[in-house]
C-alpha cells in the first residue's frame, strides 16, 4: 500500500516534469505537434516503409563489438568523474576531521 502511494507520487512528479517539458516545446514552437499539426510527409512515408518492410528495422541483437570504443569512452568519463568526486569528498572529510581535532585540542 505504501509502495503504491509512493509510486503514484513519483508518477505525478514525473508527469509534471514531462508536462513542463511539453510546455517548453510548445512555447518555443518545437513540439511534436498534435491534432492541428499533421506530421511531415517524410515521417509518414518512413513509417509506411517500416510497416511495409522496405526499411528494415534493426532488431534487439544490435550490439556491435567493433564499436566497443564507444562503450569504453562512456565508462572512462564515468570513472574519471567518480574518482574526482571521491577525491574531493575524501579531502573535504579529512580537512573537517583535522579542524575538529584542532578545536578539541585547544578547548
Amino acid at each position: 500500500m505504501k509502495f503504491l502511494r509512493h509510486f503514484t507520487a513519483v508518477v505525478l512528479v514525473v508527469a509534471v516534469i514531462v508536462g513542463l517539458g511539453m510546455l517548453w516545446a510548445h512555447t518555443s514552437g518545437g513540439g511534436t505537434g498534435h491534432a492541428e499539426h499533421a506530421p511531415p510527409r517524410e515521417v509518414i512515408l518512413r513509417v509506411q516503409q517500416i510497416k511495409a518492410g522496405v526499411i528494415r528495422v534493426q532488431s534487439g541483437d544490435g550490439f556491435s563489438l567493433a564499436n566497443t570504443s564507444d562503450l569504453i569512452r562512456t565508462c572512462l568519463i564515468e570513472a574519471v568523474l567518480v574518482a574526482l568526486v571521491i577525491t574531493v569528498s575524501a579531502a573535504w572529510r579529512r580537512r573537517r576531521r583535522i579542524r575538529r581535532t584542532a578545536v578539541r585540542g585547544s578547548g
Binding site: H6, T32, L71
Partner: protein, 173 residues
Amino acid sequence: MDAGPSTSLADRPVAVSRRRILARTRLDFWLDGLLLVAYTLAYSLGFTGIAVHEWLGIGLGVVLLVHLTLHWDWVIRTTQKLLRRNGRERFIWLVNLLLLVSMTLCIASGILISEVALPALGIALPASSFWRQVHGTTATLTLILVPIHAALRWRWIAGVARRFVAWRPKRSR
C-alpha cells in the same frame, strides 16, 4: 533522480528487523547497479545500435520509477528538512533533483524521437528537432550527473560491497 540509500542507520526506524534491512540493502544495491550499467550501455549508442538503445531507454524509465519509489521517503524527509540540513546534504539533494529532471526529459524526449521502438508498436510521431536537441543535451547532462550521484554515496556502496565480499553462506554438514 533519487535519493540516497534509504538503509543508512540514522534514517531507518529502529524496530525494523535486521533481516529486512539486509534484504532492502541488497535490493537497493543491485537495482542501483543495474541502473548504472543500463545507462552506461544506453549512452553508448554506437555499441548498442538504435534498437537496443531505445528499448534499454524505455526499460531504464521503468526501473527509474521503481528506484524513485523505493527512495521516496528520503526525498520527502530531506526536502522537509532542507533548511536545517548541512551543506553536503543540500548539495546531494540538488544533484538528485537535477538528475531527476535531466533523466526524465532525456527518456521522454527519447520516446518522442523514437525511430524503432514506437514504430514497432505502431505509433508514429512527427520528427522534431527540438526534442532531438533536448535528448542530446539531457543525455550529456545525465552522463555527468549519474557518476556524481553514485560517487556522493561511495561510502555506502563500498560498505555494502565489503559486506557482500565478507558474507559466506552457512554450510549444513
